[in-house]
């Protein structure tokens, strides 16, 4: 069954009032946000603003924890306490889009007077009762709903669209506006409400404290690095005697098969295709790729999720009839065409002679609308789906796409190249937007010969004319600068 998950921010909606809960009113807050994202086709422009309401709660150290999706792309944040009219401006201190968590700081230190920080509990038991607090659909008073923990498993976090971590499923009513609110058991936070399942009755999800603690530990050093991985594709298919025989693995062994190792990843120099990983740190891996952790079976990635980027992890694996042990450093290990959505940072671009180049991103693909995956041009769909297998260039940092053409006489005939990935300029491979800038900065060439992937026909641009027109085009279309490459990849 195809699941449609939604995130739970309420967009300036009607108020629904529930019973007042005095204790929690010292800890649970309402977050009002004004958001404005970027236009990923013409990145110097911003989208229209929108408003939203979410929930959050106070933790030790005068911090407010909430969901990243509540405050991503924010332009203005207000925090409100229940029954107090005063609005407190706030800002994001740390944000983890991969785990949908954020820490907010309030500018007015008096805000925390009379508040009570909530403590973090452990993973709840399945079938135990939990209470959800927050401001569903806005409202002025804290709402509380009760339910049970239905199950705990690894699932996709909708905010990034790609990252998967542990989630706690509950039947406690979780509605838009609940996002970021605490889910309590025995006076402790056991999760942050964050998303629900559209095609089901009362299936809501919480971010468990294992993920929250990872996030909080990560930011201790003053920056957020994110959840890491080992950079290997795995196949849970060892259910067949012949496969054991082929891989020369003892019959009583259980494990998971490496099908490919990501270029430049932590595993690149350690693992190989057809290695059978049987143990990760102290956890035995079964043939479904699961380990016994937190008293039940979870995906082996949970062993990695317990650690921070830069920490080591030990793998035991079979290769060619030999059992081996190796240590790997956990890294970010993102595919060259990242599956995750981007937030908060102005996309980098190069706009030269009206030709606008951006780095390929999911955000750019999503400009094709709701069914973007079906509607995007084939070349982009192919790269997005298979960049790990298709990219054999270890120096590539990203794919560069011709995202927009600002019409001018210099680019009248460039339309057919729109949306295509750029391969080279004057035979120099394009591995990042920085390469595009460098290529156009070279004024010695008569032509800039642009070659695009899967296109034999080049796009020649007369260099002298292009430089002449560039300033005119930037002015005509209000493009602030021809190259914006400030963020590091």
């Amino acid at each position: 069954m195809k699941k449609t998950l939604f995130i739970l921010i309420a967009f300036l909606s009607a108020s629904v009032c529930t019973a007042e809960l005095p204790d929690m009113s010292k800890s649970v807050v309402m977050i009002q946000i004004v958001k404005q994202g970027y236009d990923y086709t013409t990145p110097w422009k911003q989208q229209s603003t929108s408003g939203g309401v979410g929930s959050g709660f106070i933790i030790a150290g005068n911090r407010i924890i909430t969901n990243a999706h509540n405050v991503s792309d924010n332009r203005y944040i207000i925090i409100k306490k229940e029954n107090i009219a005063k609005k407190y401006p706030a800002s994001v201190e740390f944000i983890g889009h991969d785990c949908d968590l954020a820490l907010l700081k309030v500018y007015d230190p008096c805000f925390f007077d009379g508040t009570e920080p909530l403590g973090l509990g452990e993973l709840p038991q399945v079938n135990s009762t939990v209470s959800t607090y927050g401001f569903p659909m806005g409202g002025t008073h804290i709402s509380v709903t009760e339910g049970v923990v239905s199950r705990i498993q690894t699932d996709v976090y909708v905010h990034s669209g790609a990252d998967a971590h542990l989630v706690v499923q509950t039947d406690a009513a979780i509605n838009p506006g609940n996002s970021g609110g605490p889910v309590m058991q025995d006076g402790k936070v056991i999760g942050v409400a964050f998303q629900g399942l559209l095609a089901a009755d009362n299936i809501g999800y919480l971010i468990p404290t294992t993920v929250i603690r990872h996030f909080l530990q990560d930011v201790n050093d003053g920056k957020y690095d994110g959840f890491g991985s080992i950079g290997v594709s795995l196949f849970a298919g060892l259910h067949n005697d012949s496969y054991y025989d082929y891989l020369k693995i003892p019959a009583d062994t259980q494990g998971i098969i490496a099908t490919s190792v990501m270029l430049n990843s932590s595993a690149e120099k350690v693992l190989q295709k057809d290695d059978c990983i049987i143990k990760i740190d102290d956890y035995d891996i079964d043939n479904d790729g699961m380990i016994m952790i937190y008293g039940t079976k979870h995906h082996m990635s949970e062993a990695i999720e317990q650690k921070q980027i830069g920490q080591k992890i030990t793998l035991v694996y079979w290769r060619g009839g030999q059992k081996n042990t190796a240590e790997l450093v956990i890294g970010l290990n993102r595919p060259i065409f990242d599956y995750s959505r981007l937030y908060d940072e102005q996309p980098r671009y190069v706009c030269f002679s009206g030709l606008t180049f951006v780095a390929a991103s999911r955000n750019y693909l999503e400009t094709w609308g709701r069914d973007w995956m079906q509607n995007i041009p084939h070349a982009l769909r192919y790269l997005f789906s298979n960049s790990m297998q298709l990219n054999d260039d270890p120096l590539r940092k990203e794919y560069v796409i011709l995202s927009e053409i600002l019409p001018d006489q210099i680019n009248t005939y460039a339309d057919s190249f729109l949306t295509k990935p750029l391969e080279s300029i004057n035979d120099t491979p394009i591995r990042s937007l920085d390469d595009v800038k460098k290529a156009f900065e070279n004024k010695d060439a008569e032509f800039y010969i642009l070659k695009f992937m899967n296109s034999e026909r080049p796009l020649p641009i007369e260099a002298k004319k292009a430089h002449q027109q560039n300033e005119i085009i930037l002015k005509k279309y209000n493009v602030p600068t021809w190259a914006f490459l400030e963020q590091q990849i």
Partner: protein
């Protein structure tokens, strides 16, 4: 007030003019319904193809109809698409109530024509063959005729709007006429005439326009088919893009005197020009016809046409001359017009009239990749198909090589004990079997016969997808069980060609 009076006085005059013109048109119209009674037949066709995702099974039987236009005493032509996957064809002619058994003599999906032979013994009265006229009068009124299943001749009309080069069924773009303002939906081989002269047969239609396969194509088809062997029309072996960009022309160092031409953007491994043209050539003229920057030439009768027709208008084996600009020099290249059977494409654009090629082993359905297979995914299939597979169709379909003539995919796995662990694998491109690279369906049984002493068979896929390892000792009984469980009467279908 004056203006209002003027309008009132003009209106009746306009109305009168319209009535007069309408009457004049009606009077000029030549109705040949009577004459058509001996020359057009009704064809009832039962179609039954194959399920693409259970290729051992026939698909549901459907029934269609089309119009046959007599080209001899007992032969008619209709469109190829109307008889695709036909299992039974029966004809009805005016004045004879019972159906006449018929069969396909020649079918060509590139010209979208089929020659159908009616059983002469069942035909009570010989048909009167039509003579298709190569007349082309842009703007002329055209009438169309067809015989219904209840033996009534119907007619409709429209205007001959344009000649175009397009494909109504296959991968070759060839000459078509388009009738505008058509009174009826016609796409089933209805006969179009100018006055009393047959012009062509209908091949597609919407509520405004209808496509007509013109006399020139029909006569060429009949001429080619006359000796019993059919060569087929030429196929283009390269793609071009417009050459409008002055910067590109300057970059290619095209001299001032060459104002037009198209850029050869890709060259196939099959088809006309594939052996002589190179990517980056500028195609200036074909057989003396100069191409403009949009790839069109001026045809003496039809005005601007796409250059494809200079190739698809010829029969395979004829000579052709390309004038090109290559590496700063003008060159004249003589070549032979070539074509190819659709089955020779790396990814055939259609797979009609035959059972899909497949090989089922240990529950793994290995199948030859065709566009028909992919299109069976339903509406908007192109966006649903796995991009690695779709890439073969989009960028490699016309580029078979000696090493790789076909693409073989693992369609899916029929769950059974022998393939436990692999049940979720599907839509993967087979790279090798037992270490042997797979370049065609014929390689598959050869590869499974390799290493007779090995304990297992190994299937490897492209893009580092998981491998499949199957126990040879368990294979034979497993194949029998799987065939019985899933109702498979035939585990292998590989073309002997």
């Amino acid at each position: 007030m004056k203006k209002i009076n003027n309008i009132q006085s003009v209106f009746p005059i306009l109305l009168f003019t319209a009535v007069v013109l309408s009457n004049a048109c009606a009077k000029n119209r030549i109705d040949i319904t009577e004459k058509m009674k001996d020359s057009i037949v009704y064809l009832r066709i039962s179609h039954c193809g194959y399920e693409q995702y259970q290729p051992w099974k026939n698909s549901d039987i459907t029934e269609g109809w089309s119009v046959g236009c007599a080209v001899s005493k007992n032969e008619v032509i209709t469109t190829a698409l109307n008889v695709a996957n036909a299992v039974v064809i029966e004809a009805k002619r005016f004045g004879q109530n019972e159906f006449i058994p018929a069969k396909i003599k020649i079918v060509d999906y590139e010209s979208n024509l089929a020659l159908i032979e009616l059983d002469p013994n069942a035909l009570k009265k010989a048909l009167v063959p039509l003579k298709f006229s190569a007349k082309y009068e842009k703007g002329a009124e055209v009438n169309c005729y067809w015989l219904s299943g209840i033996l009534q001749i119907y007619s409709g009309r429209g205007y001959l709007d344009r000649a175009t080069v397009d494909s109504s069924s296959g991968f070759c773009r060839t000459l078509n006429f388009v009738a505008a303002n058509v009174s009826d939906l016609t796409g089933n081989g209805q006969l179009y005439c100018i006055g009393a002269e047959p012009l062509g047969i209908a091949c597609w239609s919407n509520d405004k326009e209808a496509g007509i396969i013109p006399a020139e194509i029909i006569n060429g088809f009949l001429e080619d088919a006359k000796d019993g062997s059919y060569n087929g029309t030429g196929a283009v072996g390269f793609t071009t893009t417009g050459l409008l960009d002055p910067a590109l022309r300057k970059y290619l160092k095209l001299p001032q005197q060459i104002q037009d031409g198209v850029y050869v953007s890709d060259v196939y491994t099959i088809g006309t020009g594939s052996d002589v043209l190179k990517s980056g050539d500028v195609l200036v003229s074909i057989d003396g016809f100069e191409l403009n920057s949009y790839g069109r030439y001026i045809h003496p009768k039809y005005d601007a046409l796409l250059f494809d027709y200079l190739i698809t208008g010829k029969t395979a084996g004829e000579k052709i001359t390309f004038n090109i600009w290559r590496g700063g020099k003008k060159e004249k290249i003589k070549a032979i017009v070539k074509n190819f059977d659709v089955s020779k494409m790396l990814v055939p654009w259609y797979d009609l009239d035959s059972q899909p090629q497949y090989f089922i082993v240990g529950g793994c359905i290995l199948q030859k990749l065709t566009k028909t297979y992919l299109a069976a995914r339903g509406a908007d299939w192109a966006g649903k198909v796995e991009p690695h597979i779709y890439n073969y169709l989009l960028n490699e379909a016309f580029k078979p090589t000696d090493e790789r003539k076909e693409i073989i995919v693992l369609s899916y796995v029929l769950p059974a004990n022998i393939n436990l662990g692999y049940h979720g694998l599907d839509q993967l491109v087979v790279d090798s079997i037992n270490g042997m690279k797979i370049g065609s369906m014929k390689d598959v049984p050869k590869a499974f016969a390799l290493n007779p002493k090995a304990k297992y068979d190994l299937i490897e896929f492209e893009l580092n997808q998981p491998k499949i390892v199957l126990d040879r000792a368990a294979m034979q009984p497993a194949n029998l069980t799987i065939a019985k469980t899933y109702g498979i009467d035939k585990s292998v279908n590989i073309s002997s060609e």
